[in-house]
Structures are given as structure tokens and as C-alpha cells.
Chain length 231, copies 2
């Protein structure tokens, strides 16, 4: 049995709490990080607050027993001031009202003391399947990479949506292409999966496309086309 | 029964041929566009050649009977010089050795004469489910939008892959996030689905991210971040 306390009230805190509540061999409670005086001991404490607040919360529970972890992709392990510390980073995009299948979520784990790793891995395995040992340096890079495949990719969708709306074309026509593009790179590396006018150096099509875009879209189109061609 | 002749030897020609071969009420043959003299009459002729070659092939079958269509996203219907003409554009990314589920492929259809539309729609429905009436102007915009959600998105994956490889992090950790990002916009519009440091205007994280990128990656990171913030 592993006992867990989650500090925080955000999406990640809520989704983790719901998952641990259903897991075998786990007892879990969730507490607003402003009510720290009332919390009982636990094997693991998850600081599930915004990046900026992690250090302050850690300091406020400085003498707490057990393993103290945060779940941020961008924050160093040493931001936690407790001695037994770690990182429990579920690499997924969490939306408030959308349920999460933790079996498909990769857990990126790190502990300061190697003897704590098994505990954190057991905790992840209680709700998920995939765990990775990722140190703080690697995690920072992974977080940048995640911005490209999540936020920036979503912005490509947003521009496409704008183009469709402006021209009375249903954006849903593009859903299957979006899905296929996302799936394809699981069997072919992105560089080999690339197609299209930039890759083919099809100048006439590129010129035609640019004529259909506004200035900001043109700037993005040109820069990514150049980057595809130089790679 | 609809008879179809496909002119061409590329991926789309092959995938369409395989699908029509299995369809009920369709007879299909596929011919290299260099052997045009040998082709028999058909209800529909699909010119499935590269964009640049469509007009020449059309001219070489100028007096052919039936409906003549191409399947390009970027080429105007009037590039076909025959009188009964149309466009049969399956909006999907086709890979040589990867089978295609046409039931999920949207067919963007256009005919010069309205009385030909039902024929083209019946042909699409024989192998697929989703058909859309899309004129040449709309199709051009859709083709630009497709570049953003396919080629440019794939380039975001490529950059993420580069970052992972350089730092000994398995790229596969990002697969679930990539899939979730692609699925999410089917229930939430891309602008509402956006999260991350650009959206939050989190300057410190943006600064940290830029330090981990090479010059070209930085340029792309800055431009897309700016575009997210201005939208």
C-alpha cells in the first residue's frame, strides 16, 4: 500500500486524484496547497501546483516525511528543497472536463536518491503502463519538444481552421489528414514522412499558396518551407 | 454499374485502383498515361498524374467520351480541356506501401456540368463514405490549409525528433501527446484548445526554451509564439 497526498487544485491534480482513487494498493487524498497544516503523513507527496509556486510550497512543507515530488516538465528537481525529492511528470495535455486514459500516458520519473525510484515507479504503474527514467536536463529538452508537437502543431491547426472558415470550407474535412499525419510518424520517422511542395521544391505551388494567405500566415509559411528545404 | 479508367501509375492511382477493384458495381482498369491509344470507353476517366502533366494528358484524350476528372487538390477544373470534366480529390496523405481506409477519406468533388455530379458522387460512395461538394476556389484554399496540418505539422514533429535525438530521449514518449493534440481539435476548436507558454505569456519559460534550441529552431519558435500571442 502506498499513501499519497496531492497538493493542488488544477487539472493535473484532479485527474491524478481520480486515477489514484480507483487504483489498488493506493490511498490518496487531495488538499488545497493553502491548507498545508492539516495534512497527515504519506509515502509520497505530489506538489501539483503552478511552476512558479513549487518552491514556496516545498519550503512550507520542509520537514515533511516521505518522498516529495512535483509534476512539472519545466522545473528542475532541485527546486524542491526537501531532502527526499523527485519528479513525477505525466507527459500529456490535460483538459478540465475530458477524461484521461493514464494507460497511454508516459510517466517521466526522476528521484534524487536512487532508492526512491522504485517507489515512484510503483506509484506510476498503479495507474499507468509506461514509465521512463528521465533526468532534469532531459526533461527540459522534452518539454521544449512537447511545445513543438502540442502548442505549435495546434497553432498549425488554428491557421488551417482560419483559412477554412474564411472560405466557407468545413474544417472537419481535414480531420482524417490530421489524424493520419499524427499516426504516420509512429511507423516512419518525421523526416522520411515529409511530402508536399516545400519538400518537392515546387515553386509554382508555393507561390500560389502564398497568394492565398495573409501577411502573418505568409511569414510562417515561408519560414517553415525554408526550414523543410534546409533539412 | 460504373466503368472507370485510371490513367497513371502513382500512389493515388494504385490506391484508387485497389479500392475500386473491390467495390460492387464498378469495373475499373488502370493504364499508364503513355499508352493512351489502347484505352476503351468508360463512364469516368480519372487522370491520376502529377499536377504539371494533367493538361497534356487531358489534351491527348480530347475526344474521349464520358466524364474526365483529375484528383489534384491544387489544380483548377478548367485545366482539363474536355467538355465533360470534374475533380475527384481524396483529401488524404497517401504512402506507397501503406493501405488506405477510404471510408475515412473525405472526397472533395466538383463537376463542370451539374448533371455529372451524381455520377461522381456515386463513384466516391462506392469506396468511401464522406463526400463534399467543393469548387476549385475552395479546393485551392483547402490545399493550403492541408499543407499546414500535414507538411508543416510534420515538420514540428521533425524538430521535436531532432531535439529528442540530440538529448538521448526516446521520441516515442511524445506519441500519446501527438495523438491527443490531433484528436482534441475534433471536440474543441484549435483556438480554444491552445495551452502552453506562448498562450500563457510565460516569458521565463519561453526564454529557457530558446536557450535549448539552435538558431533555425529559435527563429521558428519565436515566430509561432508571436503568432499565438497575437491571435
Amino acid at each position: 500500500m502506498i499513501s499519497v497526498v496531492i497538493l493542488g487544485n488544477g487539472n493535473v491534480a484532479t485527474h491524478l486524484y481520480n486515477a489514484f482513487s480507483k487504483a489498488e494498493d493506493i490511498t490518496v487524498s487531495k488538499i488545497n496547497s493553502r491548507n498545508l497544516e492539516s495534512i497527515t503523513d504519506s509515502d509520497v507527496t505530489i506538489i501539483a501546483v503552478s511552476d512558479d509556486a513549487i518552491q514556496a510550497v516545498s519550503k512550507s512543507i520542509q520537514h515533511r516525511k516521505g518522498l516529495i515530488v512535483h509534476n512539472s516538465g519545466a522545473v528542475d528537481i532541485d527546486t524542491i528543497t526537501n531532502e527526499r525529492k523527485g519528479v513525477f511528470y505525466p507527459l500529456q495535455s490535460f483538459t478540465k472536463d475530458k477524461s484521461v486514459d493514464f494507460n497511454s500516458v508516459p510517466f517521466c520519473l526522476e528521484t534524487k536518491n536512487s532508492e526512491d525510484f522504485n517507489l515512484l515507479e510503483a506509484l506510476a504503474k498503479s495507474i499507468g503502463e509506461k514509465t521512463y527514467k528521465i533526468n532534469s536536463e532531459q526533461r527540459k529538452k522534452l518539454h521544449v519538444a512537447a511545445v513543438f508537437v502540442n502548442n505549435f502543431t495546434n497553432h498549425m491547426y488554428k491557421i488551417a481552421n482560419d483559412i477554412c472558415e474564411k472560405n466557407n470550407v468545413p474544417f472537419e474535412i481535414l480531420y482524417p489528414l490530421i489524424e493520419e499525419t499524427a499516426k504516420k510518424i509512429q511507423s516512419i520517422s518525421p523526416i522520411d514522412a515529409q511530402t508536399g511542395p516545400a519538400k518537392r521544391n515546387d515553386e509554382q505551388t508555393i507561390k500560389n499558396h502564398l497568394e492565398n494567405l495573409n501577411l502573418q500566415q505568409q511569414e510562417i509559411y515561408k519560414l517553415i518551407t525554408k526550414s523543410i528545404q534546409e533539412n
